[in-house]
């Protein structure tokens, strides 16, 4: 049993009571909702004649279904429009703050909440989306929930949860130039497997983690779920406080000083006990790309696509399936694999610094002939800041499309989709079969800078070859 970790401390603060089933009733400090997983929850609430217990602790936005080319209402897709109208109506009925299209604060839920300062250390955060783990970057305990649980949180501001074990993933050293947070998390998932984290909260710690920006930390925690961990978190430090300072919903004045004192007290003790600990050498990691159909099937840009026969027995079948589905040959280098579509965006890598890093690769170059490449900012704020910095121009000049904010092709619940057997270089989080909107479309996950490099060369490329001094 872990003790003295941030997870333990936050858990204790939010424990309401023990439930008969052996789980704990846990209070939810921040509940984020969006159009996909909330409508049925509101219906259930309505059927049961229940109210929203603390409407001011729930915050809504729209992200999954929004088109990224033209956001004029009504949306051209009537089903998407109906989902948005339903959310608007529910928010109005129950007095929930809604950050809609044109509010200047709409965006992918895991991008907009942090940038508004809604996500803070020591909170419990829940949202009907598995990538809620993102908010752990602030030292919050944040997890994805299903729609029945969205209903429970609306009704009671709490959840029935079982306490997780805590695994500390200590990352030594520092990332090489051209290696990003995305590479680090793909590397970790490769090491521990896509279900390695089941039953665990992941504490990411160590020198390489401390050196990451808040945006890099969000990328890491965002994909903790892809390693099977229900949540991932990083202890808050000066980087965290610096990011939060002055944000719209951050504490101000005396409250700010008190907040910092409390936040510092939550950090895992030096003598904290973990259920498991592993060490990773951050400086040995190279740009990493997935070649298969789970986020665990990643290799460094220098490696060859594994031969299923040479893998451990329990990985052979899925590797065989993956080679067949991806139409990639075992023992071939991943570098040089031809690409059709390049997508920069998503809750993993649709933040300002992601766009900035990618734009450095793109600047002064052209997208390779025949490649469709596009950038989708994670939020209206990201879009605005990027424009102020002229980042949109860099991409447009190079031949990228510049879109309106939304989840876009990460899961393709909107018009952005792969077609047929197209293969994409994608900065998103999942390479599952059919994930990007075509039943047989293919996805290679990589960092935004690597996607940019792929767009320029028309094939999977070691971004370090395009880095300018």
């Amino acid at each position: 049993m872990s003790s003295g970790t941030l997870y333990d401390k936050v858990w204790n603060f939010h424990q309401v009571k023990e439930l008969p089933g052996g789980s704990t009733q846990l209070f939810v400090g921040l509940h984020l909702i969006h159009e996909v997983t909330s409508p049925q929850a509101f219906s259930a609430l309505n059927e049961k004649n229940l109210e929203v217990k603390f409407p001011h602790l729930t915050v809504a936005t729209v992200d999954h279904i929004v088109p990224t080319l033209n956001q004029k209402r009504p949306f051209s897709d009537p089903l998407a429009e109906e989902m948005l109208v339903t959310l608007e109506k529910n928010c109005k009925t129950y007095g929930i703050k809604f950050h809609g299209i044109g509010s200047n604060s709409q965006g992918i839920v895991h991008v907009m909440a942090p940038e508004l300062g809604l996500t803070q250390p020591g909170m419990t955060v829940a949202c009907g989306d598995s990538h809620t783990s993102t908010h752990g970057a602030f030292g919050a305990i944040a997890f994805g929930i299903g729609t029945s649980q969205v209903r429970d949180v609306l009704a009671s501001q709490s959840l029935a949860m079982k306490k997780l074990k805590v695994r500390r993933i200590w990352v030594d050293g520092s990332l090489q130039k051209g290696v990003y947070a995305k590479d680090l998390i793909l590397h970790i998932i490769r090491l521990l497997g896509v279900k390695g984290g089941v039953g665990f909260a992941y504490e990411f710690a160590g020198p390489a983690i401390e050196k990451l920006s808040m945006e890099g930390r969000m990328t890491i925690c965002n994909m903790a779920i892809e390693g099977g961990a229900r949540c991932g978190y990083i202890n808050p430090d000066e980087t965290t406080f610096e990011y939060l300072k002055g944000k719209e919903y951050s504490p101000k004045g005396q409250e700010w000083d008190n907040a910092i004192k409390w936040w510092k007290s939550l950090v895992s003790d030096s003598k904290a006990k973990f259920d498991d600990e592993i060490k990773v050498d951050g400086s040995s990691i190279e740009p990493t790309v997935t070649w298969g159909i789970t986020p665990g099937q990643g290799i460094s840009i220098k490696e060859k696509i594994p031969n299923p026969k040479l893998l451990p027995k329990n990985e052979q079948q899925i590797a065989k399936d993956a080679c067949k589905y991806m139409n990639l040959e075992a023992d071939q280098p991943i570098e040089g694999t031809s690409i059709d579509v390049c997508f920069i965006g998503s809750c993993t890598n649709g933040r300002l610094s992601d766009l900035q890093e990618a734009s450095k690769i793109v600047k002064g170059r052209k997208v390779s002939d025949g490649i469709r490449a596009f950038v989708v900012p994670g939020s209206q704020k990201v879009a605005k800041e990027a424009k102020q910095k002229g980042i949109d121009k860099i991409f447009l000049t190079a031949g990228f499309e510049w879109r309106e904010p939304g989840c876009s092709m990460c899961l393709a619940m909107n018009p952005d989709k792969l077609e047929g057997r197209q293969i994409s270089a994608s900065s998103s989080n999942r390479n599952f079969k059919g994930r990007q909107g075509s039943a047989n479309g293919r996805t290679l996950l990589m960092s935004p800078a690597m996607v940019a490099a792929a767009a320029i060369n028309g094939k999977v490329t070691d971004v370090r070859k395009l880095l300018k001094e």
């Binding site: 009733q25 996909v36 279904i65 649980q149 029935a160 229900r230 599952f432 059919g434």
Partner: protein, 203 residues
């Protein structure tokens, strides 16, 4: 025909089984994202495994004649990984699935199933393979699931299953629908609120 969904204590389930083979079957495959464009779960049953079924042109286990009306699904490792969409268990439930047996389940998927009253039982790889083979040899056989004894059996064979204690108690007592239990603690919820620094101006 109006479907009966799980209610009350889930102590026994009887019916025919079907098999989906493969590790790491994610919720995108169980219900592709484009079907999430809905404000109600009601039509999801028809769309379960839509892309896999299309690809196999009628040969997918969910399309085979002999599997129609089956209510027990036997799967492999890390079933239900990926997205938290409750649409996945909803789609399975609305197709008719009432019990899932597998090597292991992703956590959110497991919790979503529990919230619908669908037990996700586990057994070793070896046992699952054996069970899957038996089911595939004769899809007509009737299986009896007994929660109390943690077993599933036909007339000849019996398999020992596992379920963690909390979920067991919730299904056994019929208290897997958590809302009313959570609402019972109103005073304690209010106390928690009073003691949370960030809800009290960090005083």
């Amino acid at each position: 025909m109006k479907q009966e969904f799980p209610k009350g204590e889930i102590n026994a389930i009887t019916g025919r089984s079907l098999v989906i083979k493969g590790d790491d079957i994610d919720t995108d495959r169980i219900i592709p994202a484009r079907f999430l464009k809905c404000v109600s779960f009601s039509s999801l049953g028809e769309q379960v495994f839509a892309d896999d079924r299309k690809e196999l042109q009628g040969k997918h286990p969910f399309d085979l004649d002999q599997n129609q009306g089956s209510n027990i699904l036997v799967v492999n490792d890390n079933f239900g990984c990926g997205s938290s969409r409750e649409h996945a268990p909803q789609a399975l439930m609305r197709w008719g699935i009432r019990l899932i047996i597998g090597e292991s389940f992703a956590e959110i998927f497991f919790g979503n199933c529990l919230a619908l009253g669908i037990p996700c039982m586990t057994a070793s790889k070896q046992e699952i393979t054996k069970l899957q083979n038996l089911v595939n040899e004769n899809s007509n056989q009737i299986w009896d699931f007994n929660l109390k004894e943690l077993s599933i059996s036909n007339q000849k064979e019996s398999f020992r299953l596992d379920l963690e204690g909390g979920a067991y108690k919730m299904l056994y007592s019929g208290k897997w629908d958590a809302t009313s239990q959570l609402l019972d603690a109103e005073e304690k919820i209010n106390n928690t609120v009073k003691n949370l620094p960030y809800l009290n101006n960090f005083k």
